[in-house]
């Protein structure tokens, strides 16, 4: 069937219903004998990478898609972008069924993976940008306008004439992201775009994605193991584990999950014993006049006021628990 689907998608940019993907591989034991056994009578192992997933993402949302290695994140993204056919279930992106690979869909979508390079290895990025112009049929004026803006945002003006093989991983990734945005895609799938990048390059890419996301009509789905990517760019987070969604909600809500405490760090004029803080929260660490308390999120403000009123406070700060810790706990509990 050609054209946009209207069944269950109803205005969502991404709609997924009971989506599953199973694949298989031949199990092989270590060593030459293991290889020989696998060659002659290898055992097929089936893996359910994605299991009965349901998901809706509205146009304009930036969503972090996180999970441990092998959780099914990349497989999901590949089904959403039409690279893989689902084993069962329904997928619609912008009203199209991705694996039908309709031109109108592919021209509105992009997929960038942090671990692969699609640019021409032997040629400068500028040549790949020209190739994109022809491939996506970008009108000359729009192409030059977009290219100019994107080059400035990604800060790659000085490396446009350098062959890709001579660039660092971070520089290459920024060039690739520029190429991915040249045709003004409406839906953007980013698979670990900051992987293996240094702090500066990772920050630049994060800022670039954040800027693009602010343009409003773009839907961005981003996978990352770097929590800074999620915290700084994604207002909504989906946590996937063993092929299933374990959490789906505002990123801020992760900090309110039961069992996770706010951290209050106080620096006093003079040290106090640990029992002086009983009833306020759990003392996690004491280092002379510096004390770390873990408190119930709902009581954090009142406890801070109490500390100000009853202790000689020199400095105080309330912080969320580390996101890594929360997510690790969700991974463990599934």
């Amino acid at each position: 069937m050609n054209g946009r689907e209207n069944s269950f998608q109803a205005r969502a940019a991404v709609a997924v219903q009971d989506l599953s993907k199973t694949y298989w591989f031949l199990e092989k034991e270590a060593g030459l004998s293991g290889s020989l056994r696998a060659l002659l009578r290898g055992k097929k192992v089936f893996v359910e990478a994605v299991r009965q997933m349901n998901l809706r993402i509205q146009s304009g949302e930036i969503v972090g898609f996180i999970g441990p290695n092998g959780a099914g994140k990349t497989t999901t993204l590949k089904m959403l972008s039409g690279i893989l056919h689902p084993t069962s279930g329904k997928v619609e992106v912008l009203g199209f069924v991705p694996h039908r690979r309709e031109k109108a869909f592919l021209k509105q979508m992009t997929f960038v993976t942090g671990q692969r390079n699609r640019l021409f290895w032997d040629l400068p990025a500028a040549e790949y940008f020209q190739f994109c112009r022809v491939m996506y049929e970008i009108p000359e004026v729009i192409y030059h306008r977009n290219l100019h803006n994107l080059i400035a945002m990604a800060e790659i003006g000085d490396i446009l004439k350098v062959p890709q093989r001579k660039l660092s991983a971070g520089q290459r990734k920024r060039c690739e992201i520029v190429a991915a945005f040249l045709h003004d895609p409406k839906v953007i799938f980013l698979d670990e775009p900051t992987i293996a990048l240094d702090l500066i390059n990772a920050r630049k890419i994060r800022e670039f994605i954040g800027e693009k996301g602010k343009e409003g009509d773009r839907t961005i789905l981003l996978t990352s193991h770097n929590m800074a990517d999620i915290e700084q760019v994604c207002p909504r987070v989906i946590i996937i584990n063993q092929g299933k969604i374990a959490f789906d909600g505002p990123t801020r809500d992760l900090y309110l999950l039961k069992g996770f405490q706010k951290q209050i760090r106080i620096v006093l004029e003079e040290p106090r014993p640990a029992n002086a803080f009983s009833g306020l929260g759990q003392v996690r660490e004491m280092n002379g006049p510096e004390v770390w308390l873990e408190v119930e999120p709902a009581r954090a403000a009142s406890i801070a006021s109490h500390l100000f009123a009853h202790f000689p406070v020199k400095d105080i700060a309330i912080t969320d628990p580390p996101l890594e810790k929360i997510i690790e706990s969700i991974y463990k509990t599934g």
């Binding site: 990349t74 893989l84 056919h85 031109k103 997929f111 032997d122």
Partner: protein, 274 residues
């Protein structure tokens, strides 16, 4: 929808632009390494010369091969290499070796998401423009063979020759696509591609050298006879119309089968982990 997704004049123009871009990129890639570029050209010319000397060496020993005279065999040889270079410039390496590599590494991912017919793109992604340096002398050689044959053929025969040569290219495309597509299940189809490459080379000899089962195999089941023998025979003897029709039908059948097989293969694509 046509298998290559080209449905209108605008579509044809767009694909024309894409082919021009791919040709340009291929040339620029080769030119990125200066010594490599010139050595490649030299290598291609040496390859062509060696093949010619090899054939001449055979005819120092024999005057005829089956029904074929020396000049007719030269025609067969030139026709085979015209077909060989044309597929080499265009789809041969892309399908036989490029596709399995991309399936194995998962590099096919970045091509699946391009707004272009995937089969068109993977078939012609890397157009080997350097092979033009071998193709042009081969074309010159073909004209020289025509001269040796005193241009003793009619325009109708030339037309049939061109049509049968086009048929040969389509037949080769279909068979190479069938072989390459197996990589979606086997991940690596290099072995099968090498077997076919070697089989294909049989097509540069008059198939009269084979008898019985092998002759039947190369004429009716894996009709290597389509590659060069049939087009060249069109220039020096009257081919039966039913056999010409048979050649077009079989090629059409192979092509339809290859397209179906490709669609099925693509559905089974599993990519590779990142």
């Amino acid at each position: 929808m046509s298998p290559w997704g080209i449905e209108s004049l605008t579509g044809i123009r767009r694909y024309g632009r894409l082919i021009r871009t791919l040709m340009k990129v291929s040339l620029m890639r080769h030119m990125a390494y200066r010594p490599h570029f010139f050595m490649m050209i030299l290598g291609k010319i040496i390859r062509m010369a060696l093949l010619f000397f090899f054939f001449q060496a055979i005819f120092f020993q024999v005057n005829r091969i089956g029904d074929w005279t020396f000049d007719q065999v030269l025609l067969l040889f030139a026709t085979f290499h015209i077909a060989d270079y044309l597929i080499s410039i265009t789809f041969h390496r892309n399908l036989a070796f490029g596709l399995p590599r991309k399936v194995q590494t998962g590099d096919l991912d970045s091509q699946i998401i391009l707004p272009v017919n995937l089969l068109f793109f993977v078939s012609l992604e890397d157009l080997d423009m350097i092979d033009f340096f071998s193709f042009l002398p081969t074309l010159g050689f073909l004209l020289y063979v025509f001269y040796r044959l005193d241009f003793a053929f009619t325009w109708v025969q030339v037309l049939i020759y061109i049509l049968l040569l086009a048929n040969a290219l389509i037949f080769l495309y279909a068979v190479i696509l069938l072989v390459a597509t197996t990589c979606f299940w086997t991940t690596q189809s290099f072995g099968l591609a090498v077997i076919f490459d070697n089989l294909m080379r049989i097509g540069r000899y008059p198939l009269d050298i084979f008898e019985g089962f092998w002759k039947a195999l190369f004429i009716y089941f894996l009709p290597l006879v389509f590659i060069a023998q049939l087009p060249s025979q069109a220039l020096w003897k009257t081919l039966s119309w039913p056999f010409i029709l048979y050649a077009f039908l079989i090629t059409g059948g192979f092509l339809a089968l290859a397209f179906r097989f490709w669609k099925w293969g693509l559905k089974s694509y599993l990519s590779a982990s990142t």
